[in-house]
């Protein structure tokens, strides 16, 4: 057998309460030694089930019903074993698992034990499969940590997972998978939970290590951008069946299957022409209703071209206390939001981009008055009347609450599972005592149609809806009070790419139809690029650059913005990531960025006006020449 792994007609079944479900329906594929194969598909397509079958770690309910998984184990000089025929807990299978084939999971935090040092967890695999002594094992672990880019490998051996950043945790996971130098590494969405720049660094790491160890990689992902940058062969999966497979060039240049072609059209990318629309796999139709369309008019003679929201000099810091009372106090202050100012014009969508922990959600919470800032003002223009939101007494806040509403990231946890959809959408109307019960019921039906859902589903509970549908229910709830400003905090991050396009189009259409103003928060640059008119980039609590969308992505000025954009993987073979720019952890330390963009306590900086509404943060006194080289 020339292949490392050959899967023939694999079928996997899951026993559920109401019978069995076939998750994998006769999949055949192969992985050649040293090659990278990408397994692409939406959630529920069966891609993770295939990985679990190869590893022999299917959940209890799952069972391989037929087919074979042939593995030419190099440890046994290429002797071929059929993994599908092995008992998952047999000695033979355990030797393969972790020794010859290993896996990296999506969520590095939950995949590592909180009770054991990472050195212990990495070394465990080594001691299981290789006959090494204690001291030698520690050396090997240290070397491996160094290889995956830990800045201080000797110290990291004794660290716990919660002491590490997300990127380092994933590096530790990779070290754990590679410690026995396996012939095949399965990477199950290894970068989905990470920020773009860390994603680029991890992809580079996997590529480098693959070259060094000569191992094959099975990359499971839904992100075609990642696929284009790392894979040699691609297998596209849909509902447990292989839709299309071939080399990367075949797949990207000549996608044959309609599913793949549709998937490519559903992903937002930077080359979209102004006004170009995404084509979702399943288009939704919606209609507005008379009750939603009637909005309180603006008073006569008032200038309607105003800033609906003006945020000025917002600053918020959190304090972390090290010790409780009776002990010495060690107080550390973390500045989450640092002198943030921006305006949102009426009918505009302002995108707020930044990596996790940059303070973008804190800003939204301050605007909603969920947290109180240390300094700064938030001015809301209520139909010609400027209101200082932070100065409004609590008991007068109620009527203003209807004007600003929020859509949350997680459609799972933001809807009460014990309330019907009807109750969920109606709740704001009850709280604000809007209309009679029959009017409220009518309004709820209109809202359902507005987000493209059938009003007949109103009696159902949230769990009977898919993620995308749930997010639309959340949107309907936010629109129930006919707000002027909608704050959307990562509204599509939890959705599959195919659903994402659908929801994004709905957001765009409703903005136009209802004249809404959006603050759209996301870490995904392509998504923000698709929906926003102007974009603000946030880093370490500060806005580093703010510009109209066509300017920001074509002509980024700030070092951080440039880094961020360079890290986005394109689903395009002609524009691969320049991996040489990434990889060194600590390379994203703002203090060490080239002047005049270095940030930190020793670098006083200010916003510079570059014209055409393009502002950038730079060291005080920097010249225009320095900025635009």
């Amino acid at each position: 057998m020339n292949d490392l792994v050959r899967i023939n007609d694999l079928r996997v079944e899951f026993a559920l309460l109401g019978g069995t479900v076939e998750a994998v329906k006769g999949v055949s594929m192969r992985i050649r030694p040293g090659s990278t194969v990408a397994l692409v598909g939406e959630s529920g397509s069966g891609k993770s089930v295939i990985a679990q079958s190869i590893m022999g770690i299917l959940p209890k309910a799952g069972r391989i019903t037929s087919g074979e998984i042939l593995f030419a184990d190099p440890v046994r000089d290429g002797g071929v074993v059929d993994i599908a025929a092995l008992s998952p807990n047999s000695r033979e299978m355990r030797d393969i698992r972790g020794g010859s084939i290993s896996i990296v999971f999506q969520e590095p935090m939950t995949s590592l034990s909180q009770f054991h040092t990472i050195g212990n967890q990495i070394g465990e695999a080594l001691h299981l499969h290789r006959n090494v002594g204690k001291a030698q094992g520690r050396d090997t672990v240290e070397n491996m940590l160094k290889l995956v880019g830990f800045p201080d490998p000797a110290g990291a051996v004794d660290k716990y997972a919660f002491e590490l950043s997300g990127g380092l945790r994933q590096r530790a996971m990779i070290a754990m998978a590679l410690i026995c130098r396996p012939a095949l590494l399965i990477a199950d969405e290894p970068t989905t939970a990470l920020d773009v720049s860390i994603q680029a660094a991890i992809l580079k790491l996997i590529k480098d290590l693959q070259a060094e160890f000569g191992m094959a990689v099975l990359m499971i992902t839904h992100d075609l951008g990642v696929v284009a940058n790392i894979a040699e062969e691609v297998v596209v999966l849909y509902h447990g069946r292989v839709m299309e497979s071939g080399t990367i060039t075949d797949i990207f240049r000549r996608p044959k299957h309609p599913y793949l072609r549709a998937l490519m059209k559903a992903v937002p990318h930077f080359d979209m022409k102004p006004g170009e629309r995404l084509t979702p796999l399943r288009e939704i139709t919606y209609e507005t209703g008379p009750m939603i369309e009637t909005r309180a008019p603006w008073p006569e003679g008032v200038n309607t071209d105003v800033n609906v929201l003006s945020v000025n000099g917002l600053t918020k810091s959190y304090t972390t206390r090290k010790q409780a009372w009776l002990g010495s106090r060690e107080v550390t202050r973390t500045v989450a939001v640092d002198n943030v100012s921006f305006d949102i014009r009426r009918g505009e969508c302002l995108g707020l981009v930044g990596e996790s922990g940059c303070g973008k959600t804190s800003v939204s919470k301050i605007i909603m008055r969920a947290i109180t800032p240390d300094a700064g003002t938030v001015t809301f223009n209520d139909r010609g009347e400027d209101i200082d939101l932070l100065a409004v007494p609590d008991d007068e806040m109620m009527p203003l609450r209807r004007k600003i509403q929020m859509v949350f990231q997680d459609p799972q946890s933001s809807l009460n599972p014990r309330m019907t959809v009807f109750d969920i959408i109606r709740e704001p109307l009850i709280i604000h005592k809007t209309g009679s019960p029959s009017q409220q019921a009518e309004m709820v039906k209109e809202l359902m149609r507005l987000v493209g859902l059938d009003p007949r589903f109103l009696n159902r509970y949230p769990h009977s809806f898919s993620g995308g549908q749930r997010q639309r229910i959340g949107l309907a709830r936010a629109l129930a009070l006919k707000p002027d400003l909608l704050i959307c905090d990562e509204p599509v991050s939890a959705l599959d790419v195919s659903i994402q396009a659908q929801v994004l189009n709905l957001f765009k259409d409703l903005q136009k139809d209802l004249g809404l103003t959006y603050l759209f928060i996301s870490h995904n640059l392509a998504v923000v690029d698709y929906v926003a008119d102007r974009i603000a980039v946030m880093c370490r609590g500060r806005i580093v650059e703010i510009a109209p969308r066509e300017v920001l992505f074509r002509n980024p000025v700030h070092h951080y913005t440039q880094r961020l954009i360079a890290a986005v993987p394109y689903p395009d073979l002609k524009r691969k990531l320049d991996f040489s720019k990434f990889g060194k952890p600590g390379g994203d330390d703002p203090e060490k960025w080239p002047m005049p963009f270095a940030m930190g306590p020793g670098h006083p900086s200010a916003m510079f006006d570059l014209g055409h509404e393009h502002y950038v943060l730079a060291a005080e006194g920097a010249s225009r020449r320095e900025l635009v080289q």
Binding site: G99, T110, F115, H116, Y160, Y318, R321
Partner: protein
Amino acid sequence: MIGYVIRRILIMIPTLLAISMIVFIIIELPPGDYLESYVAELQAQGESVDPQEIQFLREQYGFDESPVQRYLRWVGGMLQGDFGYSFEYRLPVSDVVGDRLFLTIVVSMATIIFTWVIAFPIGIYSATHQYSWGDYGLTFIGLLGLATPNFLLALILLYFANVTFGTSIGGLMDPKYIDQPWSVDKALSVLEHLWIPVVVIGTAGTAGMIRRLRANLLDELQKQYVVTARAKGLPPGRALVKYPLRSALNFFVADIGTLLPSVISGAELVAVVLSLPTTGPILITALQSQDMYLAGSFLMFLATLTVVGVLISDLLLAWLDPRIRLAGGASR
């Protein structure tokens, strides 16, 4: 870590002080005092009472002082190791309690160990074999144990122990060893009698612990890091013990704090039924007859045990769980 321990021990002082106040107030709450109920009892039995003797006792034990003065006298005495005087027994409290305290600790410790030894394997089995016949059967037995009244179980066990093994009814030792100095035979006799109260007191706690261990372990078994452990090629048994069980231990340790007082206070009724020479029955009679120093000392003893139990469990938790040890106190 040392600073943490010292701080925790220092915090115990105000806690115990507050508890002593509450205990004192509760004992003072019923109208009258020991001497009044003593006089009433004598009169009910038709005996004459010497008013001068009563007056003498009143002065001697400060019944006429203000509650604050009596409280201070009580607490001050306890600090010097003087727990006061039991009117009922006409002996210093420490003499009344002495042996019983030791036996109470023996019974309690044995019960805790019994609970753990039974609950641990059953809980693990139930969680790893969820919805199997074994799980259902053990759950059923556990629920039976939880639902059976303790005193009933005590009577049944006493009967069978007497009929089958010829163990003497009631008590923690054969009657001939009572008030005898400790010897090997006496200790053996205690062991022979010990199992009945241990089983009786332990059943309910065991059943509860099985359910909690099962639930905790089931949660942990779902977690991704268990899959990671399996993916490394770790044999199932070792993977179970090293990862999910270790996490499930947290609740187990946190339980110690509440286990001590519940075992001791839950044992009172059983102790009466089995006429055990432990502290429970004395506490009940002392509260009934308003023998305040005896009752107060007992309650303080229970409170101290609770506080110490919580301290032990907190220290163990900090030692076991690196998140508490290293990230402790960091909050927003």
